[in-house]
């Protein structure tokens, strides 16, 4: 298909698995993108050798490049605000692999959670927010890795809209110009691939397995008896369905591969259940203001089914909202005799635990409302009570130092305690501060 000129659109010679949609409208985007670049209208933020890309297949068999190194972390507000062990586990694994990345404050959320929940935005605003964030990544030279599934889905859709609609490009360009977020010659910066963290985990699964074999097992951790149910997030694989990894090793390429593949690589027992395709019930606004819907759906269509059909030990997710929905909406089931306790966490949190990460300091299970304790026991992390106390003592120590106003001691403590210096984990050790004003936080913490 296509004119074959675009370097961004490639297929393998042989189909990796049965493919329904070989001439996807979405894949054509990569030809249009190249043509817009040729015309000088956009600049494609390319994935280079420095990013150590790994090839995966999408649902249409397209070869998608997943950069694994020199990454700009585009964080998730739901994860950082509510599931801090989610991004912390990702950073921890990247540190373990000695990878280069940048975590900086010059980014906003995608604001798509709000849009899907309340309708209080529009495609031009969503595009401007996305392109501002991407321009910031491009300026630093670090390739954007999107933490949130909704950001990922929304950005994929926004890119499609931008590439195929001149009116949208024309509407957003003056705003970006005003912000100083175009290239010097006036082009919009669009990344070659939009990459979700779960795709990174998928691409890195054999290295994660090696780390588990070397360090996790040395700590007595064993996941081979753990029964794992997978929940794929709607906004990763149903929104712009043709741009997410599929693999012959996962249901012969007929279901999304991310998360399932890494669990298989680790040797856990992936168990199938009949409502695997259902959403979690998050609903964006519903989780906050229509909670009876969210909890009813989560319990009746997912948690109950998983408990009755496969008795899984853990439900593995790869998005912010699904993780929150499933871990927060179990206890309430007791009110109706529908309590189906199960551990809930994301693929990267489970992978970090398997590789020996501290369950509370790194994976931050303290914030998790699900029944995770039996899972830790089954994985061989039998000292979890001591580890929890260790973390609680740390919290008390920090609180006490702050209460006494001992800020110098606090800073000294964090030098040892923190796993990297804020905003500075770059290949050349350069602290990316343009000026004190530019880096001034909205709130001082």
């Amino acid at each position: 298909m296509g004119h074959g000129k675009s370097p961004y659109l490639r297929y393998p010679e042989k189909e990796p698995f049965p493919i329904l949609n070989r001439n996807s409208h979405y894949d054509h985007l990569f030809e249009e993108m190249y043509e817009l670049e040729e015309k000088g209208e956009i600049l494609v933020f390319r994935i280079t050798e420095e990013n150590q890309p790994v090839e995966v297949f999408t649902r249409t068999g397209r070869i998608k490049l997943i950069p694994t190194n020199k990454l700009w972390h585009h964080k998730s507000c739901g994860q950082c605000g509510n599931i801090p062990g989610y991004p912390a586990s990702l950073f921890w694994l990247m540190n373990k692999f000695g990878l280069d990345y940048l975590n900086e404050p010059h980014q906003t959320s995608c604001t798509a959670w709000n849009y899907h929940g309340s309708g209080t935005s529009n495609p031009v605003a969503l595009a401007a927010v996305w392109l501002r964030n991407m321009h910031q990544a491009w300026k630093t030279g670090y390739y954007p890795l999107i933490h949130c599934g909704t950001s990922f889905g929304s950005y994929k859709e926004t890119r499609e809209q931008l590439i195929f609609n001149k009116e949208l490009r024309d509407a957003v360009k003056p705003i970006l110009k005003k912000l100083g977020r175009l290239t010097e010659d006036g082009r919009i910066v669009i990344p070659q691939e939009i990459v979700h963290y779960s795709e990174w985990v998928h691409a890195m699964r054999y290295r994660i397995k090696e780390l588990y074999e070397k360090e996790g097992k040395a700590k007595g951790i064993d996941v081979s008896n753990v029964r794992v149910a997978i929940h794929n997030a709607c906004h990763t694989y149903k929104m712009i369905a043709d741009d997410y990894p599929y693999d012959p090793e996962v249901y012969n390429g007929q279901r999304p591969a991310a998360s399932t593949a890494v669990m298989k690589a680790l040797g856990a027992q992936v168990v199938d259940y009949s409502t695997w395709y259902d959403c979690c019930g998050f609903g964006f606004r519903h989780i906050l203001t229509e909670r009876e819907f969210t909890r009813s759906f989560a319990i009746q269509r997912k948690l109950k089914v998983i408990a009755e059909e496969v008795k899984a030990d853990v439900l593995i997710t790869h998005d912010t909202g699904c993780t929150t929905t499933f871990e927060k909406n179990q206890w309430i089931g007791k009110a109706h005799g529908m309590y189906h306790p199960i551990a809930v966490m994301s693929d990267v949190m489970f992978a970090a635990l398997a590789c020996g990460a501290h369950p509370f300091k790194v994976v931050q299970l303290y914030w998790n409302c699900s029944n995770y304790e039996p899972l830790l026991e089954k994985m061989g992390i039998t000292n979890w009570k001591e580890l929890r106390k260790e973390w609680e003592d740390t919290v008390k120590y920090i609180a006490e130092l702050e209460k006494q106003g001992k800020y110098d001691e606090l800073m000294e403590f964090f030098k040892e305690y923190d796993l990297y210096e804020p905003y500075s984990k770059t290949s050349d050790g350069f602290r990316r501060r343009r000026s004190a004003t530019a880096d001034m936080p909205l709130f001082k913490s």
């Binding site: 507000c77 605000g81 912390a88 709000n114 909890r295 927060k328």
Partner: protein
């Protein structure tokens, strides 16, 4: 007409009946004029696969098939009636989109309808989004939709006793996260002031502040106070830096 001979069996509400026909047509045309409309609506077999797999359909009187059918039939009256509350049941999961043999996107049509409902300040939309104001305040002023201090156990008693533990000593607990991903309490991460200022420009240029003013004038005033305060602070900092 009360309801539709087949399908949408909800009686047309009085508030829809009271609205002049021309206004209903205007709203219908506003939805159709969105550039995404032509990318979200194609033919429809009436097979009902979308509705059969729709999570909201299981618990609400809501059917994505109805959305598609009513647009194809140009049923101005029913579409207007759906704008009050019907469309707010959708979970925005897009299961309908991936399953439709014609690649219709009912969830996408709903988001256009929601945007139009907000822009035109439908009364039902105002009421429905009232409890959501806290989130709007956060996202419009900080660029983060969620922060640690928003998850107070009083708001979420149904999330169980572990939530109570989470919120005690919150500041120290956030500091005990050993990466700079969650040390801040009022934002999900430390968003730089400059970034927030850029975002305010986006909201202004794209009409989002105007949208909010129509939706909830009180909330709008609170948001603008914070925005203007931050903008003044930024200007002062810039002046100080120039002087130095």
């Amino acid at each position: 007409m009360d309801g539709h001979p087949y399908g949408y069996n909800i009686p047309i509400s009085e508030k829809t009946k009271e609205v002049p026909w021309e206004e209903k047509v205007r709203i219908f045309e506003e939805i159709k004029s969105d550039f995404r409309f032509k990318e979200y609506l194609f033919g429809c077999l009436n097979c009902g696969v979308c509705t059969a797999s729709c999570p909201s359909n299981r618990f609400f009187d809501y059917s994505p098939r109805e959305i598609v059918q009513r647009f194809l039939e140009e049923d101005v009256e029913v579409i207007y009636d759906m704008m009050h509350e019907y469309i707010w049941a959708c979970s925005q999961c897009f299961t309908c989109w991936i399953r439709c043999p014609f690649v219709n996107n009912p969830g996408g049509l709903v988001i256009i309808m929601r945007e139009v409902a907000v822009r035109n300040a439908f009364e039902a939309t105002k009421d429905l989004l009232k409890p959501y104001g806290r989130v709007l305040l956060k996202v419009m002023t900080t660029g983060n939709q969620l922060s640690a201090d928003m998850l107070q156990p009083d708001f979420f008693p149904d999330w169980g006793p572990k939530m109570q533990d989470n919120m005690e000593n919150l500041r120290a607990k956030r500091m005990a996260i050993p990466f700079d991903v969650g040390k801040s309490v009022k934002t999900a991460w430390e968003v730089s002031l400059e970034t927030a200022i850029e975002m305010y420009t986006i909201w202004r240029e794209t009409g989002i502040f105007e949208m909010l003013e129509k939706l909830d004038p009180n909330l709008y005033n609170v948001i603008m106070d914070i925005v203007e305060e931050n903008e003044e602070r930024w200007e002062e900092l810039m002046e100080e830096e120039e002087e130095e």
